[in-house]
Assembly symmetry: C2
Homo-oligomer: 481 residues x 2
């Protein structure tokens, strides 16, 4: 571990944070909300802190794999700590733990909130809140499509063939290339959604904030009632479509812009993702229909597909209180929480590709019993999946379930009930936002005891960074020379 | 698939069942409960059915792997169908589905019951109910220690080195040898427990029935209040010890009888199993203590360790309503439900060895990221675990969770609430007995709709036969020549 180099890079990230902390200023002045000093002071603190850390070392060494892990984990943590300053300095969120929770929830694109009253916040703070999502989403795209594959982690190992292995000298240029292209796509989709939302009557401020939260699959809204506040079929439809888009591998969007529509059809994960959304919506519509939840099929479709898309993509926007739906519909949504979006999207969860490969692996194991001598490769699309990658996915699955169980035990220890505690954990670990019970779509996380909030903050970070990235730091041998 | 041979063997099993159906007769006469005709007629039906099936084919071919799967799955199913006859013919359980549920629960050593009033049943039927557990336990021992390893399934693959691979010609003699030795141990432990229970004041009938249910990790009691009915610290202690013994690999008991005590200490799974029991008991005692559930530490220990042992060994006896315990204690018990006993015991669940190896695999995956070039073998004890076996375990874990999720969805569809539906599934899939919510330790399964009961029956069978054994039958290629 080159600690000096790591510190230098973290310093550079803080300097970047200082710059983006100035972005909410125009809104503060325009709406005259008086919160501008909080941003200026926060920026100054980041500038000083970042400057010191950056200047501490003149190390020009290239980043190696280990520093990569440290930079990613500490980078996200630093952003969540320093990004919480505007909430604290403005007095909008007086508790440091709450402010940290809200910011971690922002940068990890989770969307769980400790705010009980959102609309009374200064506009510039609301913008900052949505911006943390959007920046987090940018981070995730470059992380999952460029950094993690080189560190040997994450669902995108599946596309290893396209990305070279962890060789220190190539890390920098490739990240920059990949990042630029995909951020272009991300920006374009954000702008498109904002425009479409404004066409539906949403004001510029709300349209931008909600587009930030959609493309990042975050879920923070500027309204207490989330998207339900607009009560518009058009807005629901636009957001549904863009949530689904945000849950798709961004390289597919990039290929589409280059005119290669066929990549969508050829991509097995994409087909599976769309199939899950359609089947889940159909089943939930059936049960909502039988249960008489909606009076007409149009409403049933509108609310069912919105909630399904919001949950599977791990966005967490709400237009309906799904806790009032039949138990079967709730259970299906819980299952989707674990699934999550596609690898290489901004969505969280375990990722569709992993679930697909788990299923195929289990099938292959049964097949092997019938044909002990036959060799059956597990494939994704028409490409066989590397055994090492499969092992990693199986390890990820075991870890995800293990962490879910352990964290739920801790939530139970902190006094939460069975359903709410477990739901809060999956809502944070899969970076969704709302859960069930006392943390349902019309509730918030304010009432959770400090210990429980701390557990959830850690869950958000681990879930967002594909578990392994955080867990390596707990191995003593990671820190040894 | 040699269907004729399979039919012949199933016929032989039915003839065996006809014989054991006569075992409750002495109790019927002694207690003069009037149920003897039900057993006689049931035995005659099995005799005729079994005789026809056995006589149908004169096939003297040796059993191959495929017929092995079919015999195991259909054998258990046939036992559950024909074993239900005494309940039906005596009128004690009028509904065929309920009788099938109760018998499947018996032979799979699950212990979930649809009976709302147990003590009013004829004594001979109560004996039969406990006997189904004991026979199921006998089946499981030979299955997990002799048959499944040869078919390439189950936790005992771990000990592959000691058991030769699936070669048809060796199957028969080895099963017989292994079975005889281990059944001796099983019988000895059962007799010892019955004796100790009688020393504590339990009558002969109850002592035998409860010993049957303990050694098989079944959980059917002859009393409505389960073991709580005796309200005796001595009886609780005896049953706690024998539940723990029943959850241990029976080859270890066998080695102990040969004077090799050191095998216990050398066995990593055993050490882990004991550690889980002790730690879980300590944690639950802590939370029960804080929650003021028990007034003194003696009671706290007595009830906590009994419930922990009952759940992790998947027995399902109750001396306390753990739903009145703190949420943390309940959550820990749910977690233990998934864990289950040791491989090669009569306990269900995923088995301690599998959980241990999953954890080690996940750890190895994180380690691999830090040291990409290092080779780290996953070991159990001091022996490296075969990669194929590890793959099978990971596949098993994925399947177990997948089946749990799918079955819980079906329970939700049948109208059960979130907690009760999921708890009913794990209670049956892990062959425990009681769950939570409406199927808690002081409730029963009577109120579940027919569809839900059918799902649970299938879960009991799949869980007991290590999933794979049942699932292969659903592959079309299994049935092809």
């Amino acid at each position: 571990m080159n600690l000096l180099l790591t510190t230098r890079i973290l310093g550079a990230l803080l300097l970047f944070l200082a710059a983006v902390l100035l972005l909410p200023l125009p809104f503060s002045f325009y709406y005259n909300d008086g919160a501008w000093p909080a941003f200026v002071f926060s920026a100054i603190i980041c500038l000083i802190g970042g400057g010191l850390m950056f200047g501490l070392s003149k190390s020009r060494a290239e980043l190696s794999v280990r520093e990569g892990f440290a930079v990613v984990t500490f980078g996200w943590t630093f952003f969540a700590i320093f990004g919480a300053l505007p909430y604290l300095l403005s007095g909008a969120i007086p508790s440091p733990l709450d402010a940290f929770f809200e910011t971690m929830s922002g940068f990890t694109t989770t969307g769980s909130t400790i705010l009980t009253e959102i609309e009374s916040l200064p506009k510039s703070l609301l913008f900052w809140r949505s911006l943390t999502h959007w920046l987090g989403g940018m981070g995730i795209i470059v992380l999952s499509l460029a950094i993690l594959p080189m560190l040997g982690v994450g669902g995108m190992q599946l596309f290893k063939a396209e990305v070279p292995g962890p060789t220190a000298d190539r890390l920098k240029p490739r990240i920059q290339d990949t990042a630029k292209l995909l951020w272009g796509v991300y920006l374009l989709l954000t702008a498109a959604e904002a425009l479409l939302l404004m066409l539906g009557g949403m004001n510029f401020f709300d349209a931008v904030c909600h587009s930030f939260a959609t493309l990042a699959t975050g879920g923070f809204s500027t309204r207490n009632a989330s998207i339900a506040a607009y009560d518009s079929g058009y807005i629901d439809a636009v957001i549904t479509v863009f949530m689904i888009l945000a849950g798709i591998n961004f390289t597919l969007h990039f290929q589409l812009l280059r005119g290669r529509l066929s990549d969508f059809h050829r991509n097995e994960e994409f087909r599976c993702y769309m199939a899950i959304i359609l089947v889940a919506t159909a089943v939930i519509m059936l049960f909502n229909g039988i249960g008489g939840v909606y009076s007409n099929i149009g409403d049933n479709l509108r609310y069912s597909i919105f909630q399904v898309s919001s949950i599977i993509t791990t966005t967490g926007f709400a237009t309906a209180d799904y806790e009032a739906w039949p138990v079967m519909a709730q259970y299906l949504l819980i299952t989707l929480m674990f699934v999550g979006g596609c690898a290489g999207s901004t969505g969280g969860g375990m990722k569709v590709a992993r679930i697909l490969l788990l299923f195929k692996h289990a099938q292959a194991q049964v097949f092997r019993l019938i044909h002990p001598r036959a060799i059956r490769l597990v494939k994704l699309g028409d490409r066989p999946v590397d055994k090492e990658v499969l092992q990693a996915i199986l390890g990820f699955f075991a870890l995800f379930i293990g962490i879910f169980v352990a964290a739920s035990l801790l939530m139970a220890a902190s006094g939460m009930d069975l359903v709410s505690g477990g739901a809060a954990v999956v809502a944070c670990l899969a970076n969704i936002g709302p859960g069930l019970g006392t943390v349902g779509p019309v509730d918030n996380f304010a009432h959770i005891p400090a210990f429980g909030k701390s557990v959830l903050i850690f869950c958000m970070l681990m879930g967002r960074l594909e578990l392994f990235t955080v867990l390596v730091l707990f191995f003593p041998s990671f820190w040894r020379k």
